[in-house]
Symmetry: C2
Subunit: 170 residues, 2 copies
Amino acid sequence: MLGLLAGGPASGYDLLKVFDTSLAHVWPATQSQIYGELAKLADAGYVTVDAEGPRGRKEYAITDAGRAELRHWMIEVEPEPVRRSGMLLRVFFLDKVSRADAIGYLHRQAESAAEQHRELSKIIEAVESEDDPLARYGRLALEWGLRAAATRAEWAAWAEGEAAKMIPAS
Amino acid sequence: MLGLLAGGPASGYDLLKVFDTSLAHVWPATQSQIYGELAKLADAGYVTVDAEGPRGRKEYAITDAGRAELRHWMIEVEPEPVRRSGMLLRVFFLDKVSRADAIGYLHRQAESAAEQHRELSKIIEAVESEDDPLARYGRLALEWGLRAAATRAEWAAWAEGEAAKMIPAS
DNA sequence: CTGTACATGTAATACGTTACATGATTCA
DNA sequence: TGAATCATGTAACGTATTACATGTACAG
């Protein structure tokens, strides 16, 4: 939220829309969470209500303390590696289902990765012309998604071959 | 937990050790959670206390209902895609820090991915000779980790180059 | 006989989602 | 004037982490 407000003042409602679009696959957040967190950030002095509009709209602006906190989080806090993957967890137990089920599972993963790749390709094409700063660096994130999807597809196809070679467990 | 118990009966303590080692990077779980969940699974009829040992040890075994539920979860429930990445979220706001900070950030990501790749290579070498079923499919998961780390390293190096080309934001 | 590993359980806290609850403005 | 959008806030529930709390068995 500090990152978004660093791009200019916005209301909770404005932020919600960004969380539901650009940030949906990177850091989803619900309406409840956003309004609650905005209140906390205001308490902490990282943001202030800079203007009030119609329908009780509160427009928040980042403060200098907020900008300092954002920079701290960006550069001095190491991002935590992704901790949980249901897709990978299932792989650990593939020997507990039939070989056909195991191969089917890996096959579906390859397919869904390929589909994700196609979807991201479309989005990249659509965003190609945009030039605002969020889109500029957002493209780096999209490229990550594209490469990750390709890797997942290749891995799943390879794993499917490996599974086919395996002698079924007792 | 049903997946682990499908490999043979075990106590909460036994499961905890597996969660802290093999499954640590795929699906971490704490001691509190494991004991609580074991009680819930027993209530639901998916596991039973099959033997009691010294020091109040309770050895749980999976039931047929548990095996059916495991198979259902494995094959019929689509794994949820990974939702949150702090690493990628920061990329969206790279235009809010200096260009040197942005480049430094991406450079560190490339380095940490390369290091993760080296670490996983070592683990794969160490596990290569093992032949139990969990290790057999576990190797597919390790290979995923290896490929993901390589992709992350390549992407970060590319992104660093892209960032260097960008005109700094106002 | 002492430290380590084994072994389980609960309480407090934080975080996140869904659902509930309400109301104002704008545009067709 | 009715529907869509704008706009905020709280309550209930479930899940996850940390901390608290306790005790047994075994190996050196």
